[in-house]
């Protein structure tokens, strides 16, 4: 098993550390050719969604990434990764990968003074620590989307088929459970093929 971590900008090293802690092999995706490496799963990290989106387009990676996701390869997006996987962003024209039937609000909790940490209930896992940094939340979901976590009446984690997204950053905590959840998705997908 090998997970590709999108390493264009942002906190990709933190995800790599989580995968290493779980004993999972990973490699960095920096260019289009890195997407040809038979990846069993992909992580899109936190960072600035405007930057990652622009680089995906200009480095000719967007089409290829979309194609891989359509083949059913599991993908996990945190924060900016969630924004990039959404089909729609409120009041924003950033181009996304457009995979999930969710509408997202960027910088939904305001500027850095609005960043916070909290404990929340994650469906199928239990209570986990969650760190929100200039975070988005999910404003609405389509009927095929399963809500995994709601915090203060806002949807902050969801799943649709092979797509998993969180508005918070499990990679900034010591808790491995969300990454384990994702790796289980990857194992199930390998088993199904």
């Amino acid at each position: 098993m090998k997970i590709g971590v999108l390493a264009l900008q942002g906190a990709f090293k933190e995800h790599e550390k989580m995968l290493t802690a779980l004993g999972v092999k990973w490699c960095e995706i920096r260019q289009a050719e890195d997407l040809s490496k038979n990846l069993n799963g992909i992580i899109i990290p936190g960072g600035e969604s405007t930057v990652i989106s622009k680089l995906l387009i200009e480095l000719n990676m967007m089409d290829k990434l979309q194609h891989i996701l359509h083949t059913g390869v599991p993908v996990f997006g945190t924060c900016a990764g969630l924004i990039l996987l959404s089909k729609q962003i409120c009041d924003d024209t950033t181009t996304t990968i457009g995979a999930m039937d969710i509408e997202v609000k960027r910088n939904a909790y305001g500027r850095q003074l609005g960043s916070f940490a909290a404990n929340g209930e994650f469906l199928g896992i239990g209570t986990i620590p969650m760190v929100f940094i200039r975070a988005p939340y999910i404003k609405s979901v389509g009927k095929n989307v399963q809500v995994l976590c709601t915090l203060q009446d806002k949807i902050v984690a969801a799943r649709q088929e092979n797509y998993l997204v969180t508005a918070f950053h499990p990679e900034l905590t010591a808790d491995l459970s969300v990454h384990k959840y994702f790796i289980q998705m990857v194992i199930d997908n390998i088993g199904n093929n």
């Binding site: 900008q9 942002g10 090293k13 960072g47 940490a117 760190v131």
Partner: protein
């Protein structure tokens, strides 16, 4: 999960890694920077090259101008206050700035004390020339460090010197015996717990960017090669012939700093780079400010 502001502020810097933070003086420039792929912008009235040219006392920017930039872009907005100027920092916190740069680019307000940054909720980034300066700023509450370099010169030599110095000092600490760390803390005039962190982890406890004199995609790639986790570009972009193109090229160079073929392509046809001032021609040495 406790709401530790300092941790959250360190975390925001982690999200900026692998990115380029660009100096902008107007909402229009901020939009150009955002569209070119800046991960944050630094709002200031005059870029360092112009501060040098104008001379005189250089202060925090007009909050109205900063607010205009906050409204123009969705990415984090940073702004500078003078070293030791507690009130300027409070003003920037009041307008909910995302990061304060307690910066040697402005005229220092206090020639002895830096701001006690641990008393603030908003994060601070500070400049450093060596490991001692970096760890002293962190002890005061900085949640991000950048090299000082020599801003507004377009000459990368000082940033290179500072980055190499910081990493060679880190390697030196890692080579010590555990019982020698106390002496090293004394020599560097920093708290022992920070020396112990460096000893155990081989890095600063916060994100470390390069700044000061970066003018080309190759300069940015050089700083990444030397261990920078991202790059500040000040005068280098909007003092050049084609700011949009140069900004976008520097962003891509930071992401793919190891790919020399891509760097060659990115370095083509960028138009005129900023003129630059050589080390011997500098009249104001900004890096000497705040130790």
């Amino acid at each position: 999960m406790s709401n530790n502001r300092y941790e959250l502020n360190v975390n925001l810097a982690q999200m900026l890694k692998g990115g380029v933070i660009m100096d902008v003086t107007t909402p229009e420039q901020a939009k150009i920077a955002e569209q070119a792929g800046a991960c944050a912008v630094m709002a200031l009235e005059r870029i360092p090259a112009d501060i040098r040219a104008a001379g005189g006392v250089s202060r925090m920017s007009d909050p109205k101008m900063i607010k205009g930039i906050q409204q123009a872009v969705s990415i984090p907005v940073m702004a500078k206050c003078r070293i030791g100027h507690i009130a300027e920092a409070q003003i920037l916190q009041a307008i909910e700035i995302d990061y304060i740069d307690e910066s040697e680019v402005l005229s220092p307000a206090d020639d002895v004390y830096h701001i006690d940054k641990s008393k603030f909720d908003v994060p601070f980034v500070c400049g450093a020339r060596d490991l001692g300066e970096a760890l002293r700023r962190i002890a005061e509450g900085a949640s991000m460090i950048r090299t000082k370099g020599e801003p507004g010169t377009g000459d990368v030599v000082q940033a290179v010197r500072h980055m190499r110095k910081i990493y060679s000092q880190i390697r030196h600490i890692q080579a010590l015996r555990g019982d020698e760390l106390f002496e090293e803390a004394k020599n560097l005039q920093v708290p022992i717990n920070l020396i112990q962190y460096v000893f155990e982890n081989g890095r600063l406890p916060v994100v470390n960017f390069a700044a000061g004199g970066v003018a080309t995609p190759a300069d940015a790639a050089l700083m990444m090669t030397l261990g920078a986790e991202g790059v500040f570009v000040g005068s280098g972009i909007f003092k050049s012939g084609n700011p949009e193109k140069r900004a976008a090229a520097i962003v891509k160079a930071v992401t793919n700093y190891k790919d020399s073929d891509m760097l060659a392509t990115l370095s083509q046809d960028l138009g005129e780079a900023m003129v630059g001032i050589n080390e011997g021609e500098i009249k104001i040495i900004m890096e000497e400010r705040g130790k």
